[in-house]
Amino acid sequence: MRVEEISTWVEDARKAFASASDLDSLKAARLAHAGDKSPIALASRGLGSLSPEDKASFGKLIGDAKAAIADALAQATAILEAERDHKVLLEEVVDISLPVNRSHRGGLHPISIIKNEVSDFFIEQGFAVEEGPELESGWLNFDALNIPADHPARTMQDTFFIEPLESGMVLRTHTSPVQIRTMLTQQPPIYVVCPGRTFRADELDATHSPVFHQVEGLVIDKGITMAHLKGTLDNFARHMFGPDVTTRLRPSFFPFTEPSAEVDIYFNNRWIEWGGCGMVNPKVLATCGIDTDVYGGFAFGMGLERTLMVRHGITDMHDIVEGDLRFTRQFGVGL
């Protein structure tokens, strides 16, 4: 046994492993160069017959050589296994552009989405969300709001009345009765918004619907001014229409507020009527038992359909009320 021979075995093994083109030929090379009958295995077995000095020196050489061969084998195996795996994965390639989702696409109604959005905005501002019945007492819908019977203001709103007429029950013409309910059941300070469905006997057309939605806000606190109303509306408008929107208050008339104003927004290069607002009429506060020497407040109200139509560029109310899936699905869940 010679030292040179051992290094040749290592070299031969490395070459053979490196030239193996697949795992099968590597297996043959392994048997030839690292198997039981390989030169290095035979030499290893022959160590016993050597002198103690030779045993020690050749033993180390053979041990190193075996380690080198094993290392080369491991390397070659790793390379060939990776090649094989890669080939298998290539064969398993699919067309990931195929339509894969079979489930129906759902969505919230856009009015629900905008109602949630408005509610969330005001919740963040510290306002609670109050709701009330749609079939409502006429006293809460009109009288308590300083809209007496036979006042022209009552004819401003084409009311749906419920039989028998003596009951005075109506389908609420605005969400304002929720404000009255709130003032009759809670103590100031009051900070609430009231979103909800409302009714007026208007024919359904591109911009009107007999069934529609409003959101109203009511604040009753000490030292509340019209400047607070303006600030709240500015903030609300920016949230709904973006930071560049500007608002304008115009003197107007509502029986339940005095002073009263229309609120317009300048959006997409034109003035658009958005809603009504004003300082809560002291008569209304008195009816609700709120001490007008201590407390004052403001209220405002907008149509949700109108807000939605203006912001999203919707031109036909029919799309909002008909429930066509193709329309609603475009809004997702409002995220």
Partner: protein, 818 residues
């Protein structure tokens, strides 16, 4: 309300440098929405001349009558034009557009050959000139009205700017040129002359006995002026300038007397009514209709009177529906020579009721129900006499007055209130100045305010605050956020509704919102009965087809489904969340407490209680296939299990526990409807729709639906979780044979009861109904786990046998062996 600039200028010094747009902005700033600025004549260029008709040649060989007309346009020679109108004769004066003129619509007039003749211009109608919608024919004038060859654009005052203004109900005074002019002057800080000032000193000679005037019921009117005139020549014509102003206001010229009443109303805001004195028997009295049944108004309509209708009557019968419309029997006619002119300050509510009861909103009633300056009964009727006597032979005979004007009371306010409400400082002195600008007298020491006669709406400090803000400009109000509570949150109910909607939407349901109206035949076809079928009726529904309030959400969903199917949709799921209106509660008569203070708590509670409870439901409708069919293959159809599963998911989302029972409830299939019970109360129903309904509404076969009464769900309790065990689970399968009438739910409950408290879960994993004999095999996987130890085989077998023993005892279940 319209307001021509030319008329406004009579009362406001408007410099030529101020544009119509600036006037419009000024009106908007003080609360008058300008809906349109009409620039009359802007699209019209002359020459437009008055011409006399010299000759008419009728040309008959065409389908319509054609005239070849010879005109004297003051040019020294006859001009011939073709004309299609026939409402004129030789000698009449007409308006001719000469070649070179351009009429509205970019209609260029030139000399041209037509109908075999050469036409050198056009005879015009008012409509063609863009000054009226009247297209009855061409405009015709009498000999003495206009001059041949004069410029018609100037004489007819065509070039003008007309503001179309929306007037709020509290500002009746602005339904007049006087009122609008005052607002223009106030907003733009211009000089204003009140036309009433010139009328205050007007006196007419009493030449005889006038028709008597009486207010029969003090509360129905405060002051009644009745002026009698005689010697009127009914052939008198309305001067062109007056006629044109009336037309610019959107009304029509009728006759001189009627035109003057309308002119004065438009100018000052006080409606007037002229009676033919010859038709009045005795004197005039304002009183209720009482037993009188019928009355014919001057529009020719016979109206059935309400006993409470306020009328102006003579000694025998009603002659006018007060403040609303005159009567046919006493109207001014072509033979009227003596006139009784009525000017009354009526009670606003009386006129509002008159108008509402007869669905008759007139120019008069619109003004009177919004309140008119009470001093105007005198001055407007004087203005009528002034104008009519100036433009006709009429003479004043006598003026009779009953009652006297009642003005708004003096009001004392704290001027600091204004700053406190507006949020910026307005010194008391400025408050006084601004209130004077709108016509108030202000004593600055006591701050006692005497509002002007035309402002019956100024009664409280808040009213004056609005006036001050209006005059300063709402744009001067600063923008400041109010102090606010630090925290608010949605209520558990609101959070729950939102979570349910979002869950359904993210699981393939599209939300819909339908009108909550229905009808009896829908209720009947759904099979609703008893309390579930009773509801409230709308007295004045949009459509007689849907007069009732809905009792359930599913019918609305079916309607939307039909619409979507008709538009091509096949497979989908939709849901709606909203109120339903079943009427177990009889409505009580309206409770209407006094408004000046908070009603007693008991009254408030009664009002709240008088409003019926309105259920709040969520319902879903699932039609067609559960998935979209595509290259991946076919999909199964929605079935009853899906509907029940979604209903259960709603309850699970709310963290509630429920049991399931079979139900037979409309509108579901009597054998395929589940009732979900929470705390002993049925809160949801789900399953297959009744096949009769599916067929009747053309839905795909076996469409399914669920409905959950969200308002009936209890609040979720605080979760107190059990510790999660880490010991290994022991799994046991059992298959039981039972009668097919035994429900899987009941059998599972029996197993659970027998298995004891170490049973962690139980799952039905197989159902086999082909064994015959009316039997069915149900196989369950039972998972046992102890919190503190590994269960032994003996323990597990014992628990399994205990479970099957209860199933055997309760339902005769036989354990199926392999």
């Amino acid at each position: 309300m319209r307001a021509p600039l030319s008329w406004l200028k009579e009362f406001v010094d408007i410099p030529a440098s101020i544009t119509p747009e600036q006037i419009s902005d000024g009106l908007i700033r003080v609360g008058f929405e300008v809906e349109e600025i009409i620039k009359q004549g802007a699209d019209l260029t002359g020459p437009l001349k008055f011409a006399k008709v010299l000759s008419i040649e009728e040309i008959t060989e065409f389908k319509k009558p054609i005239r070849y007309v010879g005109l004297d346009c003051g040019e020294g020679e006859t001009r011939f034009v073709i004309c299609g109108a026939t409402n004129f004769a030789v000698g009449d004066l007409v308006v001719a557009a000469l070649p070179g003129a351009v009429l509205p619509g970019d209609f260029k007039i030139g000399a041209r050959e037509t109908y075999g003749k050469s036409s050198n211009g056009m005879i015009c109608s008012a409509r063609e000139l863009g000054i009226s919608d009247d297209h009855a024919g061409i405009m015709v004038f009498a000999q003495d009205e206009v001059t041949i060859g004069a410029d018609a654009i100037e004489v007819l005052q065509i070039n003008d700017v007309i503001f179309d203004i929306a007037v709020n109900p509290d500002r009746g005074y602005a339904l007049s040129i006087r009122g609008v002019a005052r607002e223009v002057a106030g907003s733009l800080n211009l000089n204003f002359t009140d036309p009433v000032d010139a009328l205050r000193t007007l006196k007419f000679e009493e030449k005889g006995k006038g028709v008597t005037a009486k207010i029969g019921e003090k509360s129905s009117a405060s002051v009644f002026y009745l002026r009698t005139l005689s010697n009127f020549d009914p052939s008198a014509k309305t001067p062109i300038w007056m006629r044109r102003r009336i037309e610019k206001m959107g009304m029509r010229s009728i006759s001189l007397v009627v035109d003057v009443t309308n002119y004065v109303m438009l100018e000052l805001g006080q409606p007037l009514h002229a009676f033919d004195k010859a038709k009045i028997k005795g004197g005039l009295t304002i009183k209720r209709a009482g037993t009188t049944q019928k009355f014919v108004t001057l529009d020719g309509v016979e109206r059935t009177l309400d006993p409470n209708d306020l009328m102006v009557c003579d000694d025998e019968q009603p002659l006018a529906l007060a403040g609303t419309m005159g009567g046919l029997s006493s109207e001014i006619t072509e033979t009227t020579t003596d006139i009784a002119l009525e000017a009354v300050h009526f009670c606003e509510v009386c006129i509002a009721k008159n108008s509402r009861r007869h669905k008759l909103s007139s120019e008069a009633s619109r003004r009177l129900e919004r309140s008119v300056d009470p001093s105007l009964a005198e001055f407007a009727s004087a203005r009528f006499v002034q104008l009519l006597t100036a433009h006709s032979s009429a003479q004043h005979v006598a003026t009779v007055v009953d009652g006297e004007p009642i003005y708004a009371p003096l009001v004392t306010i704290d001027p600091a209130y204004v700053s406190r409400i507006l949020g910026f400082d307005v010194p008391a002195k400025q408050v006084a100045e601004l209130l004077r600008a709108i016509g108030c007298d202000v004593d600055e020491k006591s701050f006692t305010i005497d509002p002007p006669s035309w402002r019956a709406d100024l009664l409280t400090a808040a009213d004056f605050t609005e006036e001050v803000a209006r005059m300063i400009g709402f744009d001067k109000i600063p923008s400041v956020l109010p102090p606010r509570p630090l925290h608010a949150t949605l209520t558990p109910t609101q959070k729950r509704r939102r979570a349910v909607a979002t869950m359904l939407a993210s699981r393939g349901f599209a939300e819909v919102q339908t009108f909550p109206f229905t009808n009896q035949s829908t209720i009947d076809s759904m099979g609703f009965v008893g309390e579930r079928a009773s509801t409230y009726k709308v007295a004045n529904p949009m459509s007689e087809e849907f007069p009732l309030m809905r009792v359930h959400l599913v019918p609305g969903l079916i309607e939307v489904a039909q619409r979507n199917i008709s538009r091509g949709a096949k497979d989908f799921a939709i849901f709606e969340m909203g109120s339903i209106f079943r009427s177990p509660q009889k409505l009580v008569p309206a409770i209407s407490p006094d408004l000046s203070k908070r009603p007693d708590q008991q009254i408030i509670d009664e009002i709240f209680k008088s409003v019926p409870v309105q259920g709040y439901h969520v319902a879903g409708l699932l039609v067609g296939k559960i998935e979209n069919e595509n290259w991946q293959g076919k999909a199964r159809s929605y079935n009853w299990q899906d509907a029940i599963a979604y209903a259960q998911d709603v309850l699970a989302l709310c963290n509630l526990e429920w049991s399931v029972a079979r139900s037979d409830l409309a509108p579901w299939h009597p054998g395929r409807c589940a009732e979900l019970i929470v705390n002993g109360k049925a809160v949801a129903h789900a399953g297959e729709l009744h096949p009769r309904i599916v067929a009747a509404y053309g839905l795909p076969e076996r469409s399914v639906a669920f409905a959950v009464a969200l308002n009936a769900l209890p609040e979720s309790e605080l979760v107190r979780p059990t510790t999660v065990g880490t010991m290994p689970a022991a799994v046991q399968d059992v298959a039981l044979i039972v009668d097919s009438a035994v429900s899987a739910g009941d059998l599972q409950a029996a197993l659970r009861e027998g298995a004891g408290n170490l049973l962690e879960s139980i799952t039905l994993f197989d159902r086999y109904d082909k064994i015959g004999d009316g039997k069915v095999s149900l196989a369950f996987t039972l998972v046992f786990r102890a919190p503190d130890r590994t269960l032994t085989g003996e323990e597990v077998s014992a628990m399994r046998e205990a479970a099957t023993a209860v199933a055997a005892a309760k339902f005769g279940a036989i354990v199926r062996t392999a």
